[in-house]
Symmetry: C2
Subunit: 205 residues, 2 copies
C-alpha cells in the first residue's frame, strides 16, 4: 500500500482482504464504501460482528453454529431426530436448509479427511457422529459430503465405522445423495462422469 | 435465507452482502470465515472498523480521507503545493500514490458530473477546487478523471471555470493525463480509440 494512507484505513483494508472473496483491490473498495457509508453500513456492521462474536457458538450435538446450544435445528420439535444428514461445513447445512426438503437433523464434520492437508479423523467431528449413531435411535444416515475425492474418502471412512448394528442391535441405513444432471443443466456442459452416473441411475419417465 | 439461521448470523450476512465485491453467496462464506476465525479476524476487524468510524474524516482542503485534517498529503512539507491533481475518488488518489511519481497535492471531486444520475456541480467538490485555483499560488492543475464520457465532461466543466488568470493575475496551466498503450499492454487487445490516441501522440524513440 501507499505510504500516505492513514494507518487506521490501512489496517482496515488489510483485515478486509483476509475475507474470502475479497482481494487487496476489492478490500480497498470495500473500505472506501464503509467509510463513505459510516452510519448506514459501518456502525451496524460493527454491532452485528461484535454481537455474533459474543453470542454465536457451535452446537454441542451437531456442530452447527447458532446463538442457542443445542442449535435451533437439533431442538426443533418438528424435525425427525432419527435421520442424520452428514455435511462437511455449516455452509452445506445452509444449502440443504435453503432447499427446504430435508426434515431430519444434521451433523457438521468441519471438513473432510485429507492426506495432503494432514487432516485426520480426530481433527473432524467424526467421533461424535459415531457416538450418535451407535447410541441408538437413528434409522438413517445420509452422507451429503461434496462429490470430491476427499469428500468420498471421508464418506467411506464414516461408513466403515457406523455400518452394522448399533448398541441396541438395530440396523442403520446409510445412504448418499444421488449423482445426475443438475436441474436446469445442459448435457453439453457436463463432464463424462456425471453423464455416466445419470445414465446408469436412469429412472422411468 | 433459510429460516433456520440464527438472526445474529443472518444480519451479519445481510450487512456483509452490501459491501462492493460481495454478493449473497460470498457474504455467507465471509460470515462463516469470520465466525470460524473469531479471535484472529472478527474481533480485530470490529476494532479496526470502530477505530476508522471514529477517527477518519474528510480533509477540508482536498477531500482525501485521513485521521488528520488537513490530511497527511496536504500537510506534507515535501510536496509541491502549487500543483493540484484532480481525481474523481479517494480510490484514484490511492492509485496515484501507489504509482509514487506525483509529488504535488490532490483535489478529490467525489464523483463526476452525470446527467443520467442527476449529479450536478454543487454535488461535487468543484467550488472548493475553483476557490483553491483562483486563490493563487497554483501553477498547474492536472485533470486525472477517468477517460469516460462523464469523466471528460467533468474535466471540460472544470476547465471552463478555472482557465484564465487567477485573482493575482497569474496564468494556471491545465493538463490532462496522456492517452496511449498501457505499459505491458498488447495492441491486439486495445480498442481503436486508444491505438489512434497512441499513434497521434507518438514520441521519438
Amino acid at each position: 500500500m501507499a505510504q500516505n494512507i492513514s494507518p487506521e484505513i490501512e489496517r482496515l483494508i488489510k483485515l478486509l482482504s483476509k475475507l474470502p472473496g475479497l482481494g487487496p483491490r476489492s478490500a480497498r473498495r470495500a473500505a472506501l464504501e464503509l467509510i463513505k457509508k459510516r452510519e448506514p453500513l459501518m456502525r451496524p456492521l460493527v454491532t452485528a460482528m461484535s454481537d455474533a462474536a459474543d453470542k454465536i457458538e457451535e452446537c454441542g450435538v451437531c456442530g452447527n453454529i447458532d446463538a442457542a446450544n443445542p442449535c435451533h435445528i437439533c431442538a426443533a420439535p418438528g424435525r425427525d431426530q432419527s435421520v442424520i444428514c452428514v455435511v462437511q461445513d455449516v455452509g452445506d447445512l445452509w444449502a440443504m436448509e435453503r432447499a427446504a426438503t430435508f426434515k431430519g437433523v444434521y451433523h457438521v464434520l468441519g471438513g473432510t479427511l485429507s492426506a495432503i492437508d494432514g487432516i485426520r479423523p480426530e481433527d473432524l467431528r467424526i467421533a461424535g457422529l459415531i457416538g450418535r449413531v451407535k447410541g441408538g435411535g437413528i434409522s438413517e444416515v445420509i452422507l451429503a459430503m461434496n462429490a470430491t475425492v476427499d469428500g468420498q474418502t471421508t464418506a467411506h471412512y464414516i461408513t466403515d465405522h457406523i455400518e452394522g448394528p448399533n448398541q441396541a442391535g438395530e440396523r442403520v441405513t446409510i445412504s448418499r445423495l444421488a449423482h445426475g444432471v443438475p436441474v436446469g443443466g445442459e448435457l453439453d456442459y457436463l463432464d463424462d462422469g456425471t453423464i455416466n452416473a445419470a445414465l446408469s441411475s436412469r429412472r422411468p419417465f
